[in-house]
Amino acid sequence: MIKVQDLYKSFDGAEVLQGVNLEVGTGRILALIGRSGYGKSVLLKHVAGLMKPDRGRVLVDGHDMGRLRGGELLSIRNRLGFLFQSGALFDSMSIFDNVAFPLREKTKLRAKEIRDRVMVELEQVGLLGAEEKFPSQLSGGMVKRASLARALAGDPEIMLFDEPTTGLDPLTGQTILDLIDSCHERLKFTGIIVTHEVPKIFQVVDAVAMIDEGRILFQGTPEEILKSENGTVKSFVTGGMEWLTKDAECYADSMDKIRRRKDIHEL
């Protein structure tokens, strides 16, 4: 479980986070939406322990990420996967070596087992045949998929996604979202997705939180955000085109139906 309590962070006097409270249940995925520069990625980096808060706490399974050091921090990070907005692949390594890297360094698997495992991961993200290429030889979508394969290679219990579809065409973006969905089905990780992909992202997540001026303005289910009467939330969801409100309501209804059908199917 991820719990953010009264989190404050400022940079050179600019208050980016001003008392953020957030909770993501175990095995659930939350979409974190909000305008650019309003602190979504900063919040995500606090959850990963890459930034220390000025005030407040980020608890990951009860551990305060701002205070963890050394071995304790490493053990939490061993259970965590992070998909960077830029991909953050090691540019001096091939795609195969990138995906194999955490397995080589953190497990005692043999070379053949690592090879098999990497090939499975690459197949799942549709990158078989590109394993010998280097990150600079790949398109943006392929880099994101390779990065996803690397993040998932360690079977993470917690996954953090920083704008996984930004800069991609709609079809590639949808492929990435489908991949996240299928990986979540398989691994049942707890996740946070920072995204602008509204309303597409609502098919993938269990909850949505909207950050505005350093605080959580809204937290609820995708259906609830689509039916929200809050002006800021409404205009963000419809992209400022209020005449889409009716469409959003229809979308909420159809999502409700899909979700119920999915629940029945799972039973």
Partner: protein, 261 residues
């Protein structure tokens, strides 16, 4: 009042940077002497810092020795002491010019690219990715370069010295007509083991300075120098300038205090 505030701010910032540099060096030492050391990365850095620097060290060593041969011969012959060309070239190279010029050459060739490489990894979040995999960036990026610099600098200095001595020989003996026996004989008489050790200790010190400053500047690229490509380029420039200045200042300090001699 504004001036005083700015002065205070810059003073505090400098102190913080110094503190951060100190912690960085302490961590590097600590991780260097505790396992696991990434052997393959260490060997790769030996190849990069050491092997690939041999040609530039060879060239600079040869020409430094040749210039010393010329200037030394001209100066010494004024006092009728041209027989001492061998010790003059040998001592100058072994005690001072070998360690210092080798270190400056390695700073320019390898140090700059160490900063640029680590800096690019920093700004493209590759170091964050390492940390988030639960892996220690010091063990993967800093320690192999640090240890490789410690091993390579004395060896490169030794090559510089030998090549320089033969450069001096080429000019003094082959071109200006000094006897070969006098050149080497006097050198053997006057150059002692402690002189060679002095040069070795200096080159080890310079290895620490190069790895420390260049890795630090790359690791914190963006933090002090602004973000993006410009940040990395500024970090690289600062790394080369700071290591070069530190090498010369520390050389004076070591020579004048004879702290390790």
């Amino acid at each position: 009042m504004d001036f005083v505030r700015k002065l205070g701010e810059s003073g505090i910032r400098s102190l913080l940077t110094l503190g951060r540099m100190g912690i960085f060096l302490a961590k590097t030492f600590a991780f260097s002497v505790t396992p696991p050391v990434k052997l393959s990365l260490f060997i790769k850095q030996i190849q990069f810092i050491g092997f690939q620097s041999i040609s530039v060290i060879f060239l600079t060593g040869a020409f430094t020795g040749m210039v010393l041969g010329y200037q030394g011969f001209n100066t010494l012959s004024r006092f009728g002491s041209d027989a001492f060309l061998g010790p003059m070239v040998g001592l100058s190279l072994i005690k001072e010019m070998g360690p210092v010029i080798s270190a400056l050459m390695v700073t320019g060739r390898a140090g700059s690219s160490i900063t640029a490489e680590i800096g690019i990894m920093r700004i493209s979040e590759q170091i964050d990715a390492l940390e988030l995999m639960g892996l220690n960036p010091y063990r993967y990026l800093i320690v192999p370069r640090f240890l490789a610099a410690l091993v390579c600098l004395p060896l490169l200095t030794a090559i510089f010295d030998v090549v320089g001595i033969f450069g001096g020989y080429l000019i003094g003996v082959k071109l200006l007509g000094l006897s070969s026996g006098v050149y080497f004989g006097e050198m053997v008489s006057y150059v002692e083991m402690k002189d060679i050790l002095e040069g070795l200790i200096k080159s080890l010190n310079f290895g620490v300075i190069i790895a420390w400053v260049c890795c630090f500047k790359g690791y914190y690229a963006g933090f002090y120098t602004g973000f993006g490509a410009e940040g990395v380029s500024k970090a690289t420039t600062q790394a080369v300038v700071l290591s070069s200045v530190l090498i010369l200042v520390w050389d004076y300090f070591l020579t004048s205090t004879r702290i390790f001699m």
